[in-house]
Amino acid sequence: MAGDQELKLLGLWGSPFVMRARIALNLKGVGYEFLEEVLGTKSELLLKSNPVYKKIPVLIHNGKPICESMIIVQYIDEVWATAGPSILPSDPYDRAIARFWAVYIDDKLFPSLRKIVLANADDEETAEAADQVIAGLQLLEEAFEKFSKGKDFFGGESVGCIDIALGCYVGWIKAAEKMAGVKLLDKEKLPLLMGWAERFCSADAVKELMPEVDKLVELGKVLRARLNAAATK
């Protein structure tokens, strides 16, 4: 397998988007070389592979770059279609639903989560952002009930598209709770999602990739400081 094709992943520790690609590769049992970028700098290879956004993750397969985390996940699912479980469902309608939620998670949930992590402690926006995250998670709680059909994951018996799209944020949701002193994943309000989160974090393809929450809090503080420094310049 190693001799067959060259597979590299450009990433950064702590990035939920990079985690998505790594989970997908793990699900398919595919080996790859992980090239860690340095926070605050961008390697030549990154700039060359993703000239449009200059962002990680970038999957480089036999020299050809694929960018954008959910596009990478779908690519992995298609290239290694016969290896491991299917990440996207087979039915076109179910696929459309999975894609819809992936878009929702990134367009609506992520910006609010990011605000909580990066906002300063006394920011009014934090409370509003927390409400938005909770509202979003509430919708996902209902979606989970509908799609899991009593099974472990959004994807049914195995980790699927929505699991990957949302699951990569679990660490950061917990970090945001600590940083802002807000409760986002409330067992009483989101019982199904809490159970799902535990199962997701212990899944074979995920467990070694789950970052420690305290380390994410440290990283969050670094990112917040950098943002504040840039704002005052």
Binding site: C67, Q74, R99
Partner: protein, 223 residues
């Protein structure tokens, strides 16, 4: 006796000038799918729209045999998968990833920048102008010397970008630049798209778009 549209069971909730809705119309036309078009009044949304897209309450929504699909690029991929004639996405996974990337690029950049271009003034307007030219040049770079973004055949990225060609006139007028001059290959591609029936029947006259934006500007007190 059921009409062809009723047999297919396809309904599209849409708004005439929406480039996102037009993507769906173009895709359905490329596949030769009969459907029922329902024009929404966005200041008075129908109960059907609110029921079919409760989360965003936005058009377009494709309803197939009673089940809703939302988000224009998700809808176009659904159409491509259900009706397999005239495939819009290429069959090779790498080419598919590239197509998805560029369609997503259009979503991230074009509409937002266009809005800044007609809404803002002064330095912010100048920045929007610069950004728009850069965005169009990046698209032109991807198009290269190909007939379409999809190569010889009209594909997924073409569907994603084509509706915005009707907005070029508005962007040019608000930004005081010419797509013909800045991006001649893209301008030529836009002409080729207009010659396709699926596009000419779905996309409105650029002057109508400009008029629409004019009304929006008045509404926002910008004129």
């Amino acid at each position: 006796m059921a009409t062809a549209a009723e047999k297919e069971g396809v309904v599209l909730l849409d708004f005439w000038v929406s480039p996102f809705g037009q993507r769906c119309r173009i895709a359905l036309a490329e596949k030769g799918v009969e459907y029922e078009y329902k024009e929404e009044n966005l200041s008075d949304k129908s109960p059907l729209l609110l029921k079919m897209n409760p989360i965003h309450k936005k058009i377009p929504v494709l309803i197939h045999h009673g089940k809703p699909i939302c988000e224009s690029l998700v809808i176009v991929q659904y159409i491509d998968e259900v009706w397999s004639n005239n495939p819009l996405l290429p069959s090779d996974p790498y080419e598919r990833a590239k197509a998805r990337f560029w369609a997503d690029f259009v979503d991230k950049k074009v509409y937002e920048c266009g809005t800044r271009l007609w809404k803002l003034k002064g330095e912010a307007h100048e920045e929007a102008r610069k950004d728009m030219i850069e965005i169009l040049k990046l698209l032109e770079g991807e198009l290269g010397d190909k007939k379409y973004f999809g190569g010889e055949t009209f594909g997924f990225v073409d569907v994603a970008v084509a509706p915005f060609t009707a907005w070029f006139y508005t962007y040019e007028t608000c930004g005081k630049f010419s797509v013909d001059e800045e991006c001649p290959k893209l301008a030529a591609w836009a002409k080729r798209c207009k010659e396709r029936e699926s596009v000419s029947k779905s996309v409105h006259d650029p002057h109508k778009v400009y008029e629409f934006v004019g009304k929006l500007k008045k509404k926002f007190g910008l004129e």
